[in-house]
Amino acid sequence: MYNNISRINIKNIIAVCIIWLSSILPNFSFSTVLRVGKEADFKTIKSAIKHAQNGDTVLISKAIYKEGNIVIDKPISIIGEDYPILDGEFEYEILSIKSNNVVIKKLQLQNSGRSSMNDLSAIKIYENKYVVIENNKLINNFFGIYLQYAKHCLVKNNTLTASQKEEYQSGNGIHCWKSDSLQIIGNRVYGHRDGIYFEFVTHTVIWRNIAHKNLRYGLHFMFSHKNAYFTNFFKDNGAGVAVMFTKEVVMMNNTFQENWGDAAYGVLFKELSDCYLSGNKFIRNTTGIFFEGSNRIVAEKNTFINNGWGMRLQANCIDNRIDKNNFLGNTYDISTNGFLTLNHFDANYWDKYEGYDLNKDNIGDVPFRPLSLFSVIVEKNSPAMLLYRSFMISLLDKSEKILPTLTPENFIDNNPRMTPYKL
């Protein structure tokens, strides 16, 4: 039985390999290298592309090239030597990729045109597959890397920086629209409007990216189902991270840090459902996670440290599970605006827990109510924050903890941990 299965598998694998090789081999066997440079055969990139055959490589030596809009309409590789500079003179879309199987490597792309009408960008991929954009430097562009109707593309280890001051003058770093099965890996985005922006993007993995000091969101997605976010780092973005109207997202081991401001969130979850959050760290944000209209989300083994609000759960959130997380040094661990909560808290570590553990099973013997009365007051009447930590408020909070009257009865963790999890 076991042998049969493995035999079938091996057969399948061999078959796949043969198909793959047959598609790749022609490119390799007949490819030539076309050099671009002052002393090379081609003086301009455009002329080199024009003469290139499918599968050829255009090798660009270091210089500044101002050739307006360059269209790549055949499956070729464009590779820079020591980062040649392609300048868009604030007027053009620099690279327009209109073919499958294009590779762009080691270029420096700068000063793309600025237009909100047609979203000018440094690199734009139009309805193509298997495009690789790797190890490029993008400086001071409107949009950075723009993918529309793209599939199976890889965007890897690129650095994107922009320096606009205002949101409306600025485009997104990596912008994906109606795409599928992308890999966004190891990019750094700095100073754009949104670091990474997805709309109608599915089955995509986002891994090891860093987005910091972007004007609006570090990460922003809508209607982008079944994506996975691993080990990304979002720091000090104008409004943190906002994700909306999406199902079945997995976020693991990401860090959301120092997103400060009135409307800034570590993560804003608006109308999300069936998501899984694990191993994420929320550090020094005004609000760690803000849940609004979000259902069936499981958040476990996350760490919330030194946030203003660890988590804010609006009353329209149902059936979320908040288990086994660490809450440390937050001003408020949890707050909500409703009286009825249909969410579940279990086995979290709360540093504000003052109960005891007689049987030494590391679970507190008294349930913990993470919601403080004052957080409820502030939720309704935000200027009351002025009174925070005043003697009056401490008294109110203490009495509320003993005899809950205003805070929801079922907002409770029945198995609070005595010691923090090692996460």
Binding site: D262, T286, N307, Y332, I377, V378, L387, R389, S394
Partner: protein, 255 residues
Amino acid sequence: MIRVLKYVALDILKNKIIIAYTIMLALFAWSAFSLEDNESKGVLTVLNIVLLTVPLVSILFSTIYIYNSSEFIELLISNPVNRGMVWKALFIGLSLSMVTAYIVGVGIPLLLFANFATAIMMVATGIMLSMIFVSVAFLCSMFTRDKAKGIGVSIMLWLYFALLFDGIVLFLFFQFADYPIEKIVVILSALSPVDLSRILILLKLDVSAMLGFSGAIFQNYFGSNWGLVLSFALLGLWIAVPFAISLRKFKKKDL
């Protein structure tokens, strides 16, 4: 002035209550930092000392001391000494001893254990609060000749600043919840030195939360350099005004 100050200060510093106060503050502060598992909890304990104990002890001790030294004041006045000098010397002597007790008792552990910016802010506001409540005590003692009444007034004032004021503000919040009252609230907070100090400390202590919501408003008002200068100027006024009024009264007082 210096001569008068010397005798006044010596008399106060010899007072056993000041020494006991210093030791009590030190005990609270050190135990707060060594017993709590994380530093921020220790800071919170110390915050309560700054906001409650310091004003209470400052105002009570000063009021009682002023009443008890009426003979001393009389003796000084019958000699060729300026009345204003005597009163100022008393104020400086009392402030000096309260501030010294605070710095020795709370300031040192704060600077050792807490985050530096928070510690500096707490030391600064603690010093201001000590002096403010000494100043208010001077005013109390000018209201009435009767010692029991004077102490009663000072306790009422402390209660008002520590508890009632916040209650009134909270009440206003609920009454006017539908109006944009943030700015009024900011102005209102200047009416209580305890609240002003608390907000200044919070801006260092709970940075993350204070940057959200209306907290951001407070950050804008109090957190900027100008806000900081203004806040401390206000605290300065809380020292100067009650004392100036009491000085005027004292100069006209029959002993």
